[in-house]
């Protein structure tokens, strides 16, 4: 599904991540690593929003650098700590993302109802709590017809009731559209939360299979 080749990322000349070759088959991946290990850097690179050396190919043909528009239509992303212009409403952001990602009309309704967001989605995001912002960013990541959804620290700031809902969405999306998920966390994966999750570890500035 996703192939990293000669991937490396440096900050001010210091290499923080180096992955010679790594292939993600279709599925759900839990990428674990300590604070500052490079999880967010890797996910932001895969989402196409941070520069890096090397290349990332989606489905063996779409390069994040060469076919960037087509690539970004199929790879969605939610930040660990999302920030949006405070004067925009949740609805305006949803319309922007759904149009850009070519999602069908009213696609968001299912997700908004699932996380009980309909009451405040018309309010400016400046009035949202961090948990409400997080929920909005997760909804945005499901819009369109993504091949891969990248979620950085998806469980942080979510309330207990929202976590099973998110897991249901992921299972449904994977079953219906074959969408793959890359999730990151500094915590160990709680077995049973998601079926068939493959665990990966970022350690010593590289990505490897856990265990």
């Amino acid at each position: 599904m996703l192939q990293l080749t000669n991937f490396s990322k440096s900050y001010r000349g210091r290499a923080v991540l180096r992955i010679d070759s790594f292939a993600f088959a279709s599925g759900t991946y839990w990428i674990q690593g300590a604070n500052g290990s490079g999880k967010s850097t890797l996910l932001r690179a895969i989402a196409g929003i941070t520069p890096f050396e090397g290349d990332i190919l989606l489905a063996g043909q779409l390069s994040v650098k060469k076919q960037s528009v087509a690539y970004r239509r199929l790879v969605n992303f939610a930040e660990a700590e999302p920030v949006f212009p405070e004067f925009l409403t949740g609805r305006e952001l949803i319309d922007l993302f759904r149009t850009a990602k070519n999602g069908p009309p009213h696609q968001e309704d299912f997700y908004l109802e699932g996380l009980h967001m309909t009451a405040y989605v018309h309010e400016p995001v400046g009035t949202y709590s961090s948990g409400m912002l997080k929920k909005l960013s997760l909804v945005l990541a499901f819009l369109g017809q993504p091949t891969c959804i990248v979620l950085d620290e998806p469980l942080t700031t979510l309330d207990a009731a929202a976590i099973p809902v998110l897991c249901t969405w992921m299972a449904r999306q994977h079953a219906q559209q074959g969408t793959s998920f890359l999730l990151s966390s500094h915590q160990a994966f709680a077995a049973g939360a998601l079926p068939a999750v493959q665990q990966l570890l970022i350690e010593h500035a590289t990505l490897q299979h856990a265990g």
Partner: protein, 370 residues
Amino acid sequence: MNKPLTRVLLNVVARGFYQEHTGWLIVLFLGVFVNFFWTRIPNQNHLTEAQILANGFRLVILAVSEPIGVAALLGVGFLYSLKSWHYVAGRLKSPDVQFLAYSSNALPGREQVMSWAVVQGVILLPVVALCLYAMVIGFFFHHWLVPVLLPAYLLLLALAGAYYYTRLLSSTVGKPDKRAGLKWARHWPKPLFSLFLYEIIATKRITYLLTKLASAASIALLLLAFSDARADVRLAGMIALCCAFGHVILVFQAAEFELFYLPFVRNLPYGRGRAYGRQVLLYGVLLLPELAWLLTANGFRAGLTAAALLLSVTLLLRAVLYRTGQHMTIYLRIVVSLFLFLLLANLFALTGLLVFGCALAAGILLLRYH
């Protein structure tokens, strides 16, 4: 100065103010106030030394002797204070200074006001310099009243700011913030290119106002200085350059806004041409008053060339930030060099070439960034 609160406030507020506004202050002082210090008037060989001195200092003498001049000087001080109040009020909402809301306001009110007054005094230093200069020249030319009153005015400005900041930090458990972010524009369309324009309306009104005032002042000064060259395309080009460089702070803030609030746009499936188009639209709207003036007041050909130059140079100023990142000092060095280079090229009548050159350079920098 030695009080712990004063030291902390100087570090987190006054230093931040100067870091953020260095460019703006340089542009203002080099572009506008340099005439205040000494007005250059050519061909004065037939005048006596006293007359030359009086001519050179005529603006500063005006500022301490004539009502309109005094109003202008006091107005500059007030506008500057307004800008600083706006900045500090915004700064106090930043996450990294939230500790002030549960530490500094435990001190007696008088101590808080005194500390803030020192900080506001440091922030007002450029205005203090202007006023000191006006006082010295005023005394020298035997104008007593205004120079004697100026220190009281500065003290009033510093204390007013100090009182305002103390109130801001003490009222954190008062009425909740009812600003719901541009309520009146909630149903207006907000295409991507326009988001920074809404941000200006929401949080950067004073910066915008001061930028437009600086723009108007540079147009007026250049027209006054070169009144016999109104038909020359180089004059229109020079005005366009001054207006473009007068917008440096807004351009810097636009880039900052994009970096902080709009990183998600890079994950949207839009191409590079569209990104360039968005910038043309954003700066086209932002510069609309200057573009309209250039197009209507300078004849068709000169107006069109100057308007295109204004837009392309502003696009280039934005694109330079893709290379430098948000580093004000590095950016300013490049901006000043670029200004001198473009000014020189314009004087050699290369205005038309500069339009294409700047637009092309901006496009290349944007393409390389993406």
